[in-house]
């Protein structure tokens, strides 16, 4: 009763009313929901960014490895002007016959009978195609064209949610520096 009286009289010392508390809790929760939404959005974007980075590392590594070997290798009778070749066989001066292909979304390199997977399980290579021109040779005669190999890749990160993945459609072309047959003509 005393409390009630003092409440009534000394107006400037009262606390928040129920409605005020409810409204402020409501406003606060709206703000928290908004911030929480932004935060989860940032997390999803961060996952996608990290996935893109993995794809970048793996595609650049695979392309670089292939390019270095193709540049010094003999590539004979592999022509595929329509880019439908999914396995590339080259003869490297040091490593011998090297074969590139994919299996289960991973790029594999076979050299000296040993198959090595050169990309990470985090990245799915849904396409590895080779476009090849200028590799027609007989024992002594070349086709008077420099061998060129186009490498086409489609890669994405393996994520549980499809919206976290980003598809990379890559293409590059590498030419051989091996001129022995052509210059011997």
């Amino acid at each position: 009763m005393r409390l009630f009286n003092s409440h009534k009289l000394k107006n400037d010392q009262h606390g928040f009313s129920l409605i005020e508390v409810l409204i402020s809790v409501f406003v606060f929760s709206m703000i928290v929901i908004a911030i929480g939404g932004i935060f989860t959005q940032i997390l999803a974007l961060q996952r996608r960014g990290a996935g893109a980075q993995k794809v970048q590392e793996n595609t650049l590594f695979a392309l670089e490895l292939m390019a270095r070997e193709i540049r010094v290798s003999k590539i004979d009778n592999q022509d595929a002007p329509l880019c439908d070749r999914t396995t590339l066989t080259i003869v490297h001066p040091v490593n011998g016959t090297v074969i590139y292909s994919t299996s289960g979304g991973l790029i594999q390199r076979q050299a000296g009978g040993t198959v090595t997977t050169i990309t990470s399980a985090d990245v799915n290579f849904s396409r590895l195609n080779f476009c090849v021109l200028g590799t027609t040779v007989t024992a002594t005669v070349g086709d008077q064209k420099q061998a060129r190999v186009g490498i086409i890749m489609q890669a994405s990160s393996r994520a549980t949610r499809p919206e976290d993945t980003l598809v990379f459609d890559l293409e590059t072309t590498v030419i051989s520096r091996d001129n022995a047959i052509e210059f011997s003509n």
Partner: protein
């Protein structure tokens, strides 16, 4: 009078404040502004972070693709230089100064650069002309040849694209010599 003030809700307090009870004050304008400022200072970096991370994944992808396409431009010119040797021609035959557009299997004469987008067609192959089931990409590729001396060509391959309303480019340069 006090009673009235106490029973009034939060929302109507402003009016109450004005008319009757000076002590049962709500927030002042300044207080509200300060609170809003603090809130926006907290939210703006979070938002900036989120928008910049939208861009990161895409710019990684676009850069990786552009790097491959740029390299391809250089290699095609190099293949032409080598093929010129094989048939006994001068190393710079069909490689006159100018800007060209090309694709992986291009052979001379190359078509003149027309500021066109590349297309991606069957087998994921990038091409200069639209074909069956091809889609337009965001990339343009300009391959420039400049003869520096009688034994040296400078080749630049530039990939141009637009990313989030900003134009981006990736450029590589290579020098080809007549060393045979």
């Amino acid at each position: 009078m006090n009673n009235q003030c106490n029973n009034r809700g939060f929302i109507r307090q402003n009016r109450a404040h004005k008319n009757m009870c000076f002590d049962s004050n709500g927030f002042t304008l300044v207080e509200a502004l300060v609170a809003l400022t603090i809130l926006s200072v907290a939210i703006v970096p979070a938002y900036a972070l989120s928008t910049s991370s939208v861009g990161i994944a895409y710019s990684i992808r676009n850069n990786v693709i552009a790097a491959g396409l740029a390299q391809e431009g250089i290699e095609v010119i190099r293949a032409t230089r080598d093929s010129n040797w094989f048939v006994g021609s001068a190393f710079d035959t069909d490689l006159a100064d100018g800007d060209y557009e090309l694709q992986w299997d291009s052979i001379p004469p190359f078509s003149i650069y027309q500021d066109r987008f590349l297309y991606r067609g069957i087998q994921g192959k990038y091409r200069i002309n639209p074909g069956s089931s091809s889609v337009q990409t965001i990339y343009k590729r300009k391959v420039s040849i400049q003869k520096i001396s009688s034994v040296e060509l400078m080749i630049t391959s530039e990939i141009l694209w637009t990313e989030r309303n900003r134009s981006r480019s990736f450029k590589v340069e290579s020098h080809l010599f007549d060393w045979k």
